[in-house]
């Protein structure tokens, strides 16, 4: 009987540890976030084992010149310049590497059409440090993103 209890306890403990440190910890990044400039809102979601972020809201959704929804007109790939910015996936391929860090991904800057290597560190549950860089992390710029939640009526 004591052997059965031990096996059950071991199994449950392993389950709790797995539940605590594997999917839940890495999925804390999921949700809607606002970059430091407040001009957009980005929804981070999980596809397979990787994390992606797409623009779901723009402070100025329309191009003042055309009156139409803003397009990704600075994209170096000419074929993508007519893709709407809203819905554009600007965070790509992030993998949770532990210690509140999502790494090995990239971030796209629609302002100039450049894509940078990127590392995301979670300062706290509601704050992300998003660092875009070239080559090594030291050569880059960090932006702070804040978590958003739906207003309660």
């Amino acid at each position: 009987m004591s052997k059965l209890k031990f096996i059950l306890l071991l199994f449950l403990t392993a389950g709790v540890v797995y539940a605590t440190y594997t999917p839940q910890e890495s999925d804390r990044i999921l949700g809607v976030w606002e970059p430091g400039n407040g001009k957009a809102r980005v929804k981070i979601e999980k596809i397979g084992e990787k994390y992606y972020g797409k623009i779901v809201w723009l402070k100025e959704p329309d191009d003042p010149k055309t009156g139409q929804p803003k397009l990704d007109k600075n994209n170096p790939d000419e074929a993508l310049r007519k893709v709407p910015l809203k819905g554009y996936r600007l965070l790509k391929d992030f993998i949770y590497t532990g210690k509140d860090t999502w790494d090995k991904g990239s971030i796209y800057d629609p302002e100039n059409g450049s894509t940078y290597s990127c590392i995301i560190k979670m300062q706290d549950e509601n704050t992300l440090d998003i660092r875009g860089y070239i080559g090594i992390s030291a050569i880059g710029r960090t932006d702070v993103w804040k978590r958003l939640v739906k207003k309660t009526p």
């Binding site: 403990t13 539940a19 839940q24 407040g38 809102r41 302002e111 549950e125 509601n126 702070v144 978590r147």
Partner: protein, 375 residues
């Protein structure tokens, strides 16, 4: 019973964790994202947001740049007694030189941007022949009697190894809030006709500093005012400075200026091709070390106003090239004899004469630079 309690306890803990996970689960696709708000505490309110150091479409920050410059022929003239003794003029050029700059952002966060950098620049001169019939005649006589000549003097001072400027710099951009910011720049240079191994050159460090308070009115306009201590006019000076960066609503053109150092009109063909037209005041004071015991230690007060066109182009990813051409208007090319190792502020009222009050004529120049730009 104990087993049952243990199971309930563990399962309830698991359920609690599952609830925590639920708070971060994906939001339904059809959500109205304008109806979202920041989670408190730790939320940035509008007044806590920080302004960024650039306006929209401003040219990218250069992390590393390597360039080369050539200048067309020009001549040097010396008026007065010094000209009579040494020779009234000689041809110079074409001169050329390499330029290198590296800037690393040490801290790059919304609350603060701190960058440190290294800079190197050299200028090589080709000392030519005396100009004018009188100059040629005097030079011939001096050669016969074995006295010093302007050509020999220039060869000693700047011709043999050229002049160079090496230093390190720091830039701090500190946003105070969404609108106000402080910009500070400091630079330590050794400039002269010597190379990196010449340790004594460290005795002649030149220190420059600027401090600006500014406002970022909106994403397309920022301005600031402050004061600067620098050597851009060729010798130590204190100047009021005005920062003005602007991008038009069309986002096709703008202005990037930090007067009196530089001012450029910018035309954006597209984010990867940018044209500039404007001017820059470039200069510093160079310590001249020679084995000539007769001469005092001299400083070359070199400064020039460059009217120029620049075309910046993204070659690939973060690699850019800059093609620059313009007209170099001589502001100062004088030889000065400071009283000691320390430099002095001549200002507008000093009557201290220059050792040789020489002038150089203006010339055309061209420069090509390859740059690694910042995110």
């Amino acid at each position: 019973m104990r087993l049952l309690l243990t199971l309930i306890f563990l399962l309830s803990g698991w359920a609690l964790l599952a609830q925590v996970t639920d708070t971060t689960k994906q939001v339904a696709e059809e959500d109205d994202y304008s109806a979202y708000e920041a989670v408190s505490p730790g939320t940035l309110t509008a007044s806590q947001r920080f302004c960024t150091p650039k306006v929209l479409d401003q040219s990218p920050l250069k992390l590393v740049s390597i360039g080369y410059e050539v200048q067309s022929d020009y001549s040097l003239q010396i008026p007065g007694l010094a000209g009579f003794l040494l020779g009234s003029g000689t041809s110079l050029g074409p001169s050329h030189g390499a330029r290198f700059n590296a800037t690393i952002p040490v801290i790059s966060k919304p609350q603060m941007l701190l960058m440190v950098g290294l800079n190197y620049q050299d200028q090589r001169y080709t000392i030519g022949k005396p100009t004018g019939l009188l100059g040629i005649a005097f030079d011939t006589v001096r050669a016969v009697v074995g006295s010093d000549s302007l050509n020999r003097f220039l060869q000693q001072q700047v011709g043999s190894v050229g002049i160079r400027s090496m230093g390190m710099n720091g830039t701090l951009f500190k946003p105070l809030d969404k609108k106000n910011f402080i910009l500070m720049q400091t630079q330590l240079d050794v400039n002269g006709n010597f190379g990196i191994p010449t340790a004594e050159s460290l005795n002649y460090l030149r220190f420059s500093f600027s401090s600006i308070w500014g406002r970022k009115v909106h994403d397309r306009l920022m301005w600031g005012v402050g004061i600067s201590r620098n050597f851009r006019a060729g010798e130590l000076g204190y100047f009021p400075v005005v920062l003005f960066n602007y991008t038009a609503p069309s986002r096709k053109w703008g202005i990037e200026s930090l007067l009196p150092g530089r001012a450029h009109f910018r035309y954006t063909l597209n984010p990867r091709n940018i044209l500039f037209a404007g001017l820059e005041l470039e200069g510093t004071s160079y310590t001249l070390l020679t084995n000539n015991d007769i001469l005092p230690r001299l400083e070359l007060r070199r400064s020039e106003l460059r009217f120029r066109l620049i075309y910046e182009r993204c070659l690939s990813g973060f690699l850019w090239a800059s093609f620059q051409a313009g007209y170099r208007y001589n502001f100062s090319f004088r030889f000065d004899a400071p009283p000691g190792n320390d430099d002095f502020f001549r200002g507008f009222t000093s009557t201290r004469p220059y050792f040789i009050d020489s002038r150089i004529t203006n010339s055309f120049y061209a420069q090509i630079t390859f740059q690694l730009v910042s995110p």
